[in-house]
Symmetry: C2
Subunit: 200 residues, 2 copies
């Protein structure tokens, strides 16, 4: 049986497309926006809020939000979304092999003792800038600024909820430079590792 595969990714690195291709190739489900939908349905927050607050925070946002909530003796909105997200991820993981993109899934599963193949996709700034412009077009915010802001938000979120460093090799089994290797090679590496694993 294939393993559960988690894919964390720098913004613009193509990690999401790679996840899609891996899921298609292995014929297993991909969980991305469905997590947002389910968390929104279960928590009562809007999809937009879950989308943002379930993966991004400004470096101080999570701390302030939680601190204020702690002083008022109730969980912060971001903490409630995180808890709902953990539950949704664990429920989806129970169904069997799948690809889960983002949302600290590597941490959520490992903390619950559920084995997974954890992948981190990254690429240099030039590759990601070109890709973002191709996919999302230009805005009035310079593309590099958009990229750095997104990465910073994911990094801060991950650090706050996991006490780990986002992108640190120690937390992943495969860290792949999609800009250097190309998306197709990344897909081949991940699928070939998954095919060689025999998870009971």
């Amino acid at each position: 049986m294939y393993p559960i595969i988690t894919i964390s990714r720098e913004f613009g690195s193509g990690g999401h497309s790679i996840g899609e291709a891996v899921a298609k190739e292995l014929n297993i489900p991909l969980y991305d926006s469905i997590i947002v939908d389910k968390v929104a349905a279960e928590s009562g927050f809007s999809k937009d809020v879950v989308f943002e607050d379930g993966e991004y925070s400004s470096p101080s946002q999570a701390w302030y939000s939680s601190r204020t909530a702690y002083l008022a003796n109730f969980p912060s909105p971001q903490d409630r979304i995180f808890d709902a997200q953990c539950e949704v991820i664990l429920n989806l993981a129970e169904k069997g092999p799948c690809v889960i993109v983002g949302r600290c899934a590597d941490y959520v599963l490992s903390k619950a003792g559920i084995p997974a193949l954890n992948v981190f996709i990254h690429a240099d700034m030039e590759y990601r800038k070109t890709r973002i412009i191709e996919h999302y077009g230009e805005t009035n915010v310079p593309v590099e600024k958009r990229l750095r802001k997104k990465d910073k938000g994911r990094k801060a979120y991950y650090r706050y909820y996991t006490d780990r460093e986002w992108g640190d090799s120690a937390n992943y089994h495969l860290n792949l430079d999609s800009g250097f290797l190309g998306e197709m090679v990344c897909v081949d590496i991940i699928t070939s590792v998954a095919r060689r694993m025999d998870v009971k």
Copy 2:
């Protein structure tokens, strides 16, 4: 033509064996102790000193050594070894495709504008402890302490001479967890990427 492949590795992760197997599989030379021999011959330092001072430093050693030398207006022994090592690495790289293990080769080549496939091999502490005891046996220093000291020395050396973080995904094209994946899978990933690259 295959690319030049650099392999950086945590102590005990099997990175050296993986490098050997990759070189054998691709039928290209492996440069490891030959670098030490050549640097020793060219710099006049003993092989033991080159082996240690060309890859390890205590967090403050490189700084103090260089600072003292700077004040006395001559390069420190460690700086002289580093310079000789860079030259040896660049000369070897000129000969064509090869595998170079350790010695900041990823940085040395990229600084000289020479393309390479840069790999970092890591594994968790338990895997590395078992492997070190199997390969080198027990000593009166606990194995975990030996491991941490070696890693710390390599990290400090790398940071001092490259201004980069050792093991940080951004510096490598492939970071592989050999404990999770197994040495054979790591070898297969690296060789298959090398075979798909066509370096002019």
